[in-house]
Symmetry: D2
Subunit: 341 residues, 4 copies
Amino acid sequence: MDIIVLKPKVTAKELRHIVRKLESMGFKANISKGTERTVIGVIGDTSKITEDESNAFASMAGVETIHRIIQPFKLASRDFKSGDTVFRVGRQTIGGRKIQVIAGPCAVENLPTLLTIAREVKKAGASFIRGGAFKPRTSPYSFQGLGEEGLKYLAEARRETGLPVVTEVMDPRDIDVVLKYADVIQVGARNMQNFRLLQAIGAHDKPIVLKRGLSATIKDLLMAAEYIMAQGNNRIMLCERGIRTFETATRNTLDLNAVPVLKKLSHLPVIVDPSHGAGQWNLVAPMAKAAVAAGADGLIIEVHSRPEEALSDGEQSLKPEKFKTLMKELKAVARAVGRTL
Amino acid sequence: MDIIVLKPKVTAKELRHIVRKLESMGFKANISKGTERTVIGVIGDTSKITEDESNAFASMAGVETIHRIIQPFKLASRDFKSGDTVFRVGRQTIGGRKIQVIAGPCAVENLPTLLTIAREVKKAGASFIRGGAFKPRTSPYSFQGLGEEGLKYLAEARRETGLPVVTEVMDPRDIDVVLKYADVIQVGARNMQNFRLLQAIGAHDKPIVLKRGLSATIKDLLMAAEYIMAQGNNRIMLCERGIRTFETATRNTLDLNAVPVLKKLSHLPVIVDPSHGAGQWNLVAPMAKAAVAAGADGLIIEVHSRPEEALSDGEQSLKPEKFKTLMKELKAVARAVGRTL
Amino acid sequence: MDIIVLKPKVTAKELRHIVRKLESMGFKANISKGTERTVIGVIGDTSKITEDESNAFASMAGVETIHRIIQPFKLASRDFKSGDTVFRVGRQTIGGRKIQVIAGPCAVENLPTLLTIAREVKKAGASFIRGGAFKPRTSPYSFQGLGEEGLKYLAEARRETGLPVVTEVMDPRDIDVVLKYADVIQVGARNMQNFRLLQAIGAHDKPIVLKRGLSATIKDLLMAAEYIMAQGNNRIMLCERGIRTFETATRNTLDLNAVPVLKKLSHLPVIVDPSHGAGQWNLVAPMAKAAVAAGADGLIIEVHSRPEEALSDGEQSLKPEKFKTLMKELKAVARAVGRTL
Amino acid sequence: MDIIVLKPKVTAKELRHIVRKLESMGFKANISKGTERTVIGVIGDTSKITEDESNAFASMAGVETIHRIIQPFKLASRDFKSGDTVFRVGRQTIGGRKIQVIAGPCAVENLPTLLTIAREVKKAGASFIRGGAFKPRTSPYSFQGLGEEGLKYLAEARRETGLPVVTEVMDPRDIDVVLKYADVIQVGARNMQNFRLLQAIGAHDKPIVLKRGLSATIKDLLMAAEYIMAQGNNRIMLCERGIRTFETATRNTLDLNAVPVLKKLSHLPVIVDPSHGAGQWNLVAPMAKAAVAAGADGLIIEVHSRPEEALSDGEQSLKPEKFKTLMKELKAVARAVGRTL
């Protein structure tokens, strides 16, 4: 038993009674009020609930029916919530008809460069500015990010352009400082199974971009989302950004199959990062268009005014003029699949 | 030295002289007459040519310049031929502005079913009918195809609908019988490095669909094309159909990155098979649209009037009505990227 | 129903009767006489046999019991034959206590070099000489092997050293000529799913080395063996030779897990090719020792007297003196796991 | 310039001078005193050092020569330190002739079970006890470990058996509590690129088991070690534990190639975890033997007295009697390759 569907006219007292019974058994209740029905997600190891116990719940006052979710992820599952999850960040709506574009440099390097890029991507139609202040780098000797200084620059870019800020957090100890400046928190691919970090950000209500790990299956990604949701935060964008395969012609293999598969298995919005997925700037435009055609709800695109001087990932960053052209092309593809941009 | 670019006014005698010299050194000459220049591709292990020998060619009458191709594939390379390869099959043009759709059942099962499907896909706008008469199956106990009988049914479907026939050959010993009936020969993923088969079909001038092997890199695919082209046949469609990765939610991981990468490295047309690439019928539509958005020149789509009864790959076949809907959607995406369908 | 176990005292007439009934239903009977029981393997698509038909067989005279094999491979399965398959090639026994070492150059290049190598590997204790006369090469411009001339050199090496010859066949059209010279036929990794080649060699009784494809699962490898066995030939050595993964530090990832997994699932002998599996000569010795420790029944090791001049795979070939040292080390490891070499 | 080799008779003053110059340029100096030479590793982004600056160092008093390390990892590289790194934990020597066996349950579940297992593995010859108190689990609803309570049980097991304790840390915020109880800290596969965790444990001098990530290349693993070493801690055991591939017959693909490749590229000791690498208890023994034959310096083996009741990874745990048998077999293989156990 994973879901308890309540009767339309369930009373507050009945609801309280059910929740208390769940809690007395060591579970948490995730209450989701839909337009027609209220549903309780049972949070915890439900495989231990006996059939007798299930039946006892089924016959409680206010309960219409109980369900079992076969997938190991529950709150993230379409079985738990059949309609798409839609949420707002500032004036933008994630998961709706409009495809959201998050653009900006890989790393925040200095204020003037960031402001230049922010103005350019805003002008081209992006709805979010991104940039890393804490950077996970393969080498300890590479640029590791500006830390809080970088976050301040991002806030300054928001003040100038009105674009909400997306930035990564790598360490539970940095969450407080990141929360001070960011509108959306990103969990990077290398931290997708940093379960303590997931739990820590799940305890806040800030929207999250959760990137798929390099060797994470689609199921693993949904289980990572479940870690966050089990703490109460369900404002998550799942992000396909390429997986590791034997192919060496591209940095990663962008797995666009994941877009329709995730949309089928889960109610959460799905976005795509073609910059990391392909790893070369001249592949970004075709793959961004493909992502939109495949049904993505958003894109993350690296833009840099001087890619050749970027402190990281320059080779996969678009120049502002290329980004502008791409945005126009994307609008046409979005329209072709019944979306806006 | 891999390419000899000739002077605009090269004489037949000079050309003959150059070719003879190449042949005397154990090479073959692939002569390609463009609108402005004639170019000779030097076929063979050119790494053995010394610098002195190169210089001797460079100073021969009629020679303008000589080039070295860095990639291991030569005839398949954009360095050898910068313009797109475009060729005709019947009334259809492959590699041009129009995106070609090859549709039909995985295997030819019987004449009435094939004719039903052929009429439906024709009506929906497909330009080729496909179907396997020789089937590579993982199990020796599975249906292996109808053989020549199946080829006859395909020819009958062409007679009825006018659609040219695409069908697979698995064995050099079957080439003659397949050539009798097919308009386009398919080399399947499992035979992509069956080099003797590649050489055997390269000796004919029938157009070819060359499918990427399950663990073939993009470079491997181009080297397989080179095997065919070295025999004289360059009417090849490269086909991305999914690679093997750790992901188990889909049958294969359709690598759409391969589309822009192949278009950049090679002049050959590139098509995509989303049916095998994803392996589930409900993923075919989003991935087909994504393929077109990524720049594919064509699609191979499995269509079956009764997928649940198909002798192979039923779970990834579209019903005719779904295919019809998809064709409409594809038209919109094609238009958005400046193509027709 | 896949296996019919006969009563100890089954008569020839009863047996004939059962076989005929199977044949009348479109199946073939593979009769395997063990020391205590005779068993019939039912060859064909047994999933179509109804329960009533199964029961009818179970009650026939001479039948003790019938079994269903859950794996898709049957003749190759331990469920079909619980004891190890052991067979002889010349004076050597494959699949017994002795670990067999097949050594020699990747390709046969010329007679003197081959004879030098053959004498050296014989002296060091190898029991088979290997060498390719037909070579599958990624590039059409690379050395493709000497063809029949190479086979003649191999026969000459056998005449001189007494070592039986292992060599590859790539094309059904070459089987007759290869059979004339070879003692063991090798099917290369790229042809593991060349089903027509498998069927063609399965119709002969020559022992076979079947190499795992670069992206073949263990189940795929056993299904390929099943293709051969369904034609009547069960003298097969399964060969692990590395799979394709994201790791680029080695040519392939030698999957030694496959050794115990194959031994558990199948009764066929399992050998390992560390030369291709690792792709660098200095990794061959540790991986060869690891393969023996993991339970392999044999090894294929590339040896070349002048690796730096080899026409293919020189970088993974051992020099004779290194091979000699390795053979001594292997003897110690073999002894440690209760085997000889 | 990455390494400064000093003259045998360098003075303290000269050394100080060199170090100060490095620091003034923003680098750190890692001083390694060998038996014959003292060597300075230059820590930081050395790619920015100009040739003139290099030459200036080369001509400083006390400097014999300067070197460039081509690999991106430096302190972890054999170019930096040619001899094997050997270090002691309690009475055990890691990286020497003796192969160390770390054994115990996946998770610490309760004190009596842990003590039973600890006594059994001690008796069989293991030299370390392992067990997880903080468990990274794919599902938030699975058992997450006992936390500090589990660490106390491990300390109790050490008190009883004398075996040093190996246990995992998942979160920088837990390092202090883990340091209180553990003799060796483990970084799990999912945290191999949790760079902040690596830096945090690198700042302490506790020995570390660093597990290879599921999709980490060998180079990635060495870069992760570099993160730790750049903080000053070089007592690291690199641990191969299986990578993610397309093969589904085993939980992971244990990449034993990694053992000789790591030993060649790095001076750090290399151990193998066949329990996670294969994921099935009956594959543990052959793969453990293979690891020793391939040159591993140690093994991590999961042992549980009642695997069927284990709260995690029961299917890959050995029972004590199987472990005892395996230890005997391992001794024979170790002897065959010139090691002890």
